[in-house]
Symmetry: C2
Subunit: 313 residues, 2 copies
């Protein structure tokens, strides 16, 4: 058993155009890092000793902190909540970016504690606790960012309540270009802008695209993936919250992206691409579209990350 | 080149619980048969010489007949509309059953003419003409019955307008039990009963089930198929049109069906099952539930038919 463990959990792209609340995939970077170590302090229990890179915006109180709460729930489940464990959080990705920042922290938190205790549970078994942590930040019991961040891969969540979660096949040449513009979109606004009702016709169209997207992954049929990556329900409602959305999307498509849409609740925008070279070209075009409008932004190019949360020390 | 060709095209189950307007599969039986032959009559063109088994309910006028119109459109496309061809239609399945009766006729019609001309086009290429025939009966350009009836298999229609049609993988042990009760459900009523709007929440749930159903087929994961085969949108609205629907469904589930729902617009009810023996047990239970309510019915047990329309003579 180690005395200290450091874990990395990656950012993730939820919704993936055709799978609102049910699809998400992990990126190679950015991501959060969390260190946990056994402490010899007399007061037992989990303690967050420091949070780096968050400008004091995240709570040190365990019960109010995504990573802390998730880890504590896992420790309680294991009957180990009295163990003196110190947690140090290194936020290395932007908040409110639509890249699953709180989910990465929650995933890293449970992964770190599980690793410190020498892996009593599998990743699949600790997912529930990570989702509980995410719920602190998001209010909803949702795995579309947490599951990819923890497990890696392109994840289908058949049902969030039951955590009926599945890794989908990933074609070898599938890359993501993701641009995070420095504008604020509150998750609450992103939710509020959505109508409770949709047209049956739209639902049929989206269903056809969703099913074809799954089949396209399975067959590594990039043309089918491209025809399928169209969100006729959520994107048209949320696009207005993101300045330059359609300019960026058009730039991505013109540069041969398979498809392009909003990452999670935004403002980040992702494109899926065939091959690294295309992803780089697409990413540069998206970046340029934001920069021309004087919007600061960061670009991330990545394969679909198949590992999820990993012990790095 | 033959002087005469006889073709069988099978019945089909559209919607398949989770794929309203986008999924359908073919059965081994029942189905329609169509014979076409070159004629030496002086007046050229396609002529329907007889329709058997339809109680004079189907038009002999080519342009008004599903099979006739479909075949004629194909002949026109091939520049052969002046050829003197006689068509004889053998209806061997019930109308208005929700089993794709008109689609089977349309599929058989185009398949027969294409075969008579020694297959100038592939099945994929003649699909469009069969859908045009179905449109005569149904009013809509829809391939969810025609495509499985012609091509065979479990079919995903990403998009009806473009006929972006795909055969899905089928687990070896997948069987269907389908019961047709002798009650009338008009397709118009089945359409009218559907609300134009649905809840976003239902759409998410149905999407999760649809995506998981595709994945379940791919992985031959029968448990996942079973968890996925739930229609939260269409079935609750249409169930009231079919007497004893929930009794029959409960009987199927109790007898270990993976799932059970309405076939097409009804009144037929299908169940998917693992293995022939289970399908027979499930079919018997469904049959009994109708019979106990004094509703005459026919039972069909079948693997997913992988061949679709075939030349039988």
């Amino acid at each position: 058993m180690n005395n200290s463990v450091r874990v990395f959990a990656p950012a993730s792209v939820a919704n993936v155009a055709v799978g609102f609340d049910i699809l998400g995939f992990a990126l190679d970077s950015p991501g959060d890092e969390i260190t946990v170590s056994f402490s010899d302090r007399e007061s037992g229990g989990l303690k967050i000793t420091a949070i780096h890179g968050a400008d004091n915006k995240l709570p040190l109180v365990v019960e109010k902190n995504t990573a802390g709460f998730a880890a504590q729930q896992l420790l309680r489940h294991l009957g180990k909540e009295d163990l003196a464990i110190d947690m140090e959080i290194h936020k290395k990705m932007p908040f409110g970016s639509g890249l699953g920042s709180s989910a990465a922290s929650a995933a890293a938190g449970v992964m770190a504690v599980n690793a410190l205790l020498d892996h009593p549970l599998s990743k699949e078994e600790i997912l529930h606790f990570a989702v509980l942590g995410e719920q602190i930040a998001d209010g909803a019991y949702h795995a579309d960012n947490v599951a990819p961040s923890l497990l890696g891969g392109m994840i289908l969540i058949r049902n969030n309540e039951d955590l009926d979660v599945h890794q989908l096949p990933i074609p070898d040449d599938l890359y993501a270009a993701v641009v995070h513009p420095e504008v604020e979109v509150l998750t609450k606004d992103a939710r509020d802008v959505l109508s409770d009702k949709i047209c049956l016709k739209q639902s049929i169209e989206q269903g056809g695209n969703l099913a074809a997207f799954i089949l396209g992954l399975m067959k590594a049929d990039y043309d089918l993936l491209s025809r399928s990556l169209k969100d006729v329900i959520i994107e048209p409602q949320r696009a207005k919250l993101i300045p330059q959305f359609y300019e960026v999307k058009n730039a991505a498509i013109s540069a041969s992206a398979l498809g392009c849409s909003i990452s999670g609740a935004g403002p980040s925008i992702f494109a899926l691409c065939k091959g690294l070279e295309t992803a780089q070209k697409v990413g540069a075009a998206m970046e340029k579209a934001f920069t021309q409008a004087q919007i600061e932004n960061q670009l991330y190019i990545s394969k679909i990350n198949q590992h999820g949360a990993v012990v790095i020390e």
